[in-house]
């Protein structure tokens, strides 16, 4: 009888000796594949100009219509993008978005890509509309947080990740003690972004 019991429990006993496969998610994360389609990032050129030229091809390619682009003419003295036009407003409804990547395929200047970020859950649906400040890649010359500091709304900018304004996995908990503490992780870069 003992032999049968050991035989029946053979796999169980063997698995007891192995390392558990559980990934302790908030502390450790399984590696995101390089072509993973998570939250969008709007890119810049090396000189700080935005790659987006406001052509609205991404909005046209989007199967759910979750992208809104409002374009304007560039000022020749202070251009925002190298083209004739740039995007004044660029908003993505992250909740409606299905992260298919068609916007990145349609973009002629590779201005928009889909990044590695996964933790997008939020308490309010209004906050899941990402504005240009949220999506645009951080650049040392101009940082969206700088406006918030000037208006006394937030603390100096925390460390910016090269992946974009909202790409840090954990929000800067307690680093932006403004009038309204940010919910950690929901808006990566703290109090600088435009309130919706």
């Amino acid at each position: 009888m003992f032999r049968e019991m050991v035989g029946g429990l053979r796999i169980t006993l063997r698995e007891m000796m192995t390392k558990p496969i559980t990934i302790q998610y908030p502390e450790e994360q399984r590696p995101v594949p390089p072509r993973h389609r998570g939250r969008h990032i709007l890119h810049r050129y090396d000189n700080g100009l935005e790659k987006c030229i406001g052509c609205e091809l991404c909005a046209g390619a989007c199967p759910v219509g979750c992208i809104y682009v409002q374009a304007a003419e560039n000022d020749p003295q202070h251009p925002v993008s190298p083209g004739e036009r740039y995007a004044v407003r660029y908003e993505i409804n992250l909740m409606r978005c299905i992260y298919c990547g068609y916007c990145a395929e349609a973009c002629p200047t590779e201005a928009i890509t889909l990044g590695p970020r996964l933790d997008l859950a939020d308490y309010k649906r209004e906050r899941l509309v990402a504005t240009k400040d949220d999506l645009l890649e951080a650049w040392p010359g101009f940082h969206p947080m700088a406006q918030g500091v000037a208006e006394g709304r937030g603390a100096p900018a925390p460390q910016t990740s090269p992946l974009g304004a909202g790409s840090s996995h954990q929000g800067p908990a307690g680093s932006a003690p403004g009038l309204r503490p940010p919910i950690p992780g929901s808006r990566g870069s703290g109090g600088g972004a435009a309130p919706i």
Binding site: L120, A121, R125
Partner: protein, 194 residues
């Protein structure tokens, strides 16, 4: 917390800006929304202490009602498996009866015909109850912007946490459960809900 009057609560941001105080936090929990923390601070020491214990019990044993409607349900099942292990957050016991559950994970698109059923299941759950709207379809309709699908389950039941994604990864669901736990921890026990 030690803060009992509203003036002291309002003084906290000033102290924070001066760098003299840490953010007021429930033990082990990062503070959630400011108004909720305000409400908790107004209740007094005894109520908040007991309330913390009750809230700890609530957020440590969320029992979800099975409400997988579409492909998001596959990710929900994956989240409860050993690799992601929803049991680490005390939320692995998916109940087939709404009477035994206090969390409803709406995973998938809700058709007009399913709406009343969803509401009935929600009404049958005992009272401190929460709803996670998982995925683009449940949150706002997703690609199904048509007459057959309800454009967001918050038209039918109050939703606490929305998860974008089509479908979200299991990590996304775990993240939402963690955020919901923070919200429950910061909500006064006998207080109002949004």
């Amino acid at each position: 917390m030690g803060l009992s009057t509203r003036d002291e609560v309002l003084a906290v941001p000033r102290l924070l800006r001066a760098g003299g105080l840490q953010a007021p936090a429930l033990p082990g929990v990062i503070p959630a929304e400011r108004d909720l923390a305000d409400a908790a601070a107004q209740e007094g020491i005894f109520a908040t202490t007991v309330g913390k214990v009750i809230a700890w019990g609530r957020y440590s044993s969320l029992w979800p009602a099975t409400f997988g409607l579409a492909c998001c349900a596959i990710e929900m099942m994956a989240a409860s498996n050993a690799r992601f292990d929803l049991a680490r957050f005390g939320a692995e016991v998916f109940r087939a009866s709404p009477r035994q559950s206090d969390l409803m994970i709406v995973a998938g698109r809700v058709s007009q015909k399913m709406g009343p059923v969803l509401r009935q299941i929600y009404d049958q759950m005992p009272d401190p109850k929460w709803v996670i709207s998982m995925g683009a379809c449940a949150s706002c309709g997703g690609i199904f912007n048509n007459y057959a699908i309800i454009q967001g389950v918050d038209k039918v039941v109050p939703v606490d946490v929305y998860i974008p994604g089509c479908p979200p990864r299991p990590e996304g669901l775990l993240d939402a459960v963690i955020k919901l736990q923070k919200k429950i921890a910061a909500t006064p026990v006998n207080g109002i809900r949004e």
